[in-house]
């Protein structure tokens, strides 16, 4: 993402702490490190001075922004009410069976993958069953005349006309929130996995025309979260 974020190797570590020294948000040890270093380093003193001025300028610039117009609030409330009434309609229609029910099961299964990152062992059991379900039910389905709504859920990825798939293995140290954040960033959902070697299959919505290479690049730029990521042919 930001190859340019490499620093000149001669930059003092303390210099990179200065923004938080200014806002007094360093822990005690780091604050002490900065305070010990500063009197002996002219370069960092200059840096601190510049940092102060730049920060004042940035704050002045942001403070010029007074806030959104009231139209935003009206639109938000209109959307909320719209969603509420459509959720109610959906519940009324829930008594239908057939493909709609299957679609709901599928949505429910997928929500397991996108929302809470269930511990891997528990996932294996669920995934084993759900992978079967999805392969059996997921293909060649005609869209129902209404979309199942999971009321008040995390917004599901839009149904794209086309999608990419990626084989991915996460590192052992990757946390739930790291993985979730990364998947949201590239608009991906886990649709299958883990395999015996711990690989998952991601589906990436491509309605924004992001090339798969860009998604792979984003994933591979996070070596602390992603061990490997390769395109998968689905």
């Amino acid at each position: 993402m930001n190859e340019s974020d490499q620093l000149d190797p001669s930059t003092h570590h303390e210099a990179t702490l200065l923004p938080w020294y200014l806002t007094d948000t360093l822990d005690r040890q780091e604050k002490q490190d900065v305070e010990t270093h500063l009197p002996n380093c002219e370069r960092c003193q200059i840096e601190l001075d510049e940092m102060k001025r730049t920060r004042a300028a940035v704050k002045a610039s942001i403070n010029e922004q007074t806030g959104p117009s009231s139209v935003v609030f009206e639109q938000v409330m209109a959307r909320i009410r719209e969603e509420q009434s459509s959720a109610e309609t959906t519940i009324q229609r829930k008594s239908h069976t057939g493909p709609n029910l299957l679609k709901q099961i599928q949505a429910w299964i997928q929500s397991l993958f996108t929302v809470p990152w269930v511990p891997v062992l528990a996932t294996i059991v669920i995934v084993g069953q759900s992978a079967l379900l999805m392969t059996n039910l997921g293909n060649n389905q005609t869209l129902p005349d209404w979309e199942p709504v999971v009321p008040r859920g995390i917004p599901q990825a839009p149904s794209p006309s086309e999608s990419h798939h990626i084989h991915i293995i996460f590192t052992e140290t990757a946390t739930q929130s790291e993985i979730q954040g990364l998947l949201q960033l590239i608009h991906a959902q886990i649709i299958r996995g883990p395999s015996l070697d711990g690989a998952y299959v991601l589906k990436i919505s491509t309605n924004d025309l992001t090339p798969i290479e860009a998604s792979l690049e984003t994933l591979l730029a996070q070596p602390t979260i992603v061990r490997s990521a390769t395109p998968a042919n689905e």
């Binding site: 001025r53 922004q65 959104p68 909320i80 008040r152």
Partner: protein, 194 residues
């Protein structure tokens, strides 16, 4: 519903009440955060119209997901996290549309090459000059400067909000500040303005 005035209730309480469908609580939460989220998104996106559109998406997502908020982080971190993701979505949408990275150029705001930089600075003042210089930074750089300098978030919190390593936060802020300084000087900024 408690009898306490909504404005006296904590973010946590408002979020949990909004999660149960309490519109009044949601509205109080909305008004508590509207300015900060708008300022954050406009730092990231630059364009006021795109910012307002994105803000609608953020706040609708806050409403929809309030019931799932478990209090593992501060409410503010949670809301800023949603805004971060929606902001990235907006940048992607705009970039794919324009076939280039998000351009914040605004004909009206573009520096008139006929003016000397000194004239330009005097006309616009420090805040305007900084706004102009910020437009030449990448969205990533504008975003970290906003979070570190304006929201005054510790680097640990920025790291978890943006889902990037802590060292990347430190180097990114450092580098963004260097870039911004360069752009400000190019626009005629001098140290005497502060």
């Amino acid at each position: 519903m408690t009898t306490t005035d909504v404005h006296d209730r904590s973010d946590q309480d408002l979020t949990s009440e909004a999660g149960q469908g309490d519109e009044e609580a949601f509205q109080a939460l909305y008004h508590r955060y509207e300015k900060r989220i708008f300022q954050y998104l406009i730092s990231m996106l630059g364009d006021p119209t795109l910012t307002e559109e994105t803000m609608v998406e953020v706040m609708v997502a806050v409403w929809k997901n309030a019931g799932k908020f478990r209090g593992d982080s501060k409410v503010s971190t949670w809301i800023f996290g949603i805004a971060h993701h929606k902001g990235i979505d907006a940048i992607r949408r705009v970039s794919s549309h324009r076939q280039s990275s998000v351009s914040l150029d605004d004909a009206e705001e573009t520096v008139d090459v006929g003016d000397s930089p000194e004239d330009h600075v005097q006309q616009k003042g420090l805040a305007k000059l900084t706004t102009q210089a910020m437009k030449d930074l990448s969205p990533d750089h504008r975003e970290v400067l906003h979070l570190a300098f304006f929201e005054e978030l510790p680097y640990q919190e920025i790291s978890s909000l943006l889902n990037i390593p802590m060292n990347t936060v430190k180097t990114r802020v450092f580098y963004a500040k260097q870039q911004l300084k360069g752009h400000m000087h190019a626009l005629g900024f001098s140290e005497t303005m502060l």
